[in-house]
């Protein structure tokens, strides 16, 4: 028998092979849950950094704003303005 014929005869025989039985449902669902958690964590990370940067910028901005407000509206400010005008 030629190689070709032997090859085809063997493939025909191999087709009737029974593969090992498997049950992967539980493991697939577990992998999908893990993947889902990983994706959620990845999605949360940039938001965390954005929140931290916003806070870091907002706190000094609020402090400066309070200081400026107090300075511009306090009674001492009006007196100092008047003194400055007289002094000129």
């Amino acid at each position: 028998m030629k190689n070709e014929n032997l090859f085809e005869a063997l493939t025909a025989r191999a087709r009737s092979e029974t593969p090992p039985s498997v049950d992967v449902a539980g493991r697939v669902i577990a992998r999908l849950n893990a993947e889902q958690n990983r994706i959620e964590r990845m999605a949360e990370k940039p938001l965390l950094w954005l929140a931290a940067a916003s806070s870091a910028f907002a706190v000094p901005a609020v402090i400066v704003a309070i200081m400026v407000y107090n300075a511009s509206t306090g009674p001492l400010y009006e007196i100092s303005q008047a003194i400055a005008w007289v002094a000129q």
């Binding site: 030629k2 032997l6 005869a9 025909a12 092979e17 498997v22 992967v24 992998r31 999908l32 849950n33």
Partner: protein, 233 residues
Amino acid sequence: MYSYPSNMVLSILPGRIVSLRAERLLVELVYSLMDSEFAAEDRQKTNASLAAEREDVRLSRQGDSDAYTRLIKQHQSHVSRMLWRFSRDRLVHEELIQDVFVEAYLSLGTYREKAPFGHWLSRIATRIGYRYWKQIARRGETESFSLAEWDELPGKSPDEMDPGQAADLLHRLLAQLRPRDRLVLTLRYLEGCDVAETARRTGWTKSLVKIQSLRARKRLEKLFAQAGKELRR
């Protein structure tokens, strides 16, 4: 063609003499009517199972893990059978099956339901199996094989061989080829796919499948020729 004893037909038409050919035609007609009833029942069952499958796909898209578990249980033996051609290592084989279902779940949004879910899965399984072959080829992990093994085949004909033994031998033989050649030969000969089905699974055109099959067969012949051995019967 059914062949039934003539008395069976005579019992249908008592007192009439009909020719053998007419008898057969009549019996075939009766049985074809019965078959068509069974076929209609089968079609109803198939439609019902397809509808249930579509519902499970829809629920899976919404994140219902029970629905996806049902889909896995329904299709895992089919996927297992396909991927057993790609790896005969049980651990790798199981890992590949898991990869198929994980990738399928993550790509559910691209499934258009034009073909049954199993057909769509077989495309993913082929892609994953092929990717695995390319990975092992890049790493140079080709399984050892000597053509002398062919000569050591039992004296009996391949038809009498154990299917597992035949599959194992072919698996190691085809591993000597490039992944592309190996894929087309596996699909065409081991899976028994025609050109259209091979094209569908691989995503190649039909012309490419034909050319690739021809080239792969030539390379296989070359492999035998290099060894300088003409196989014994």
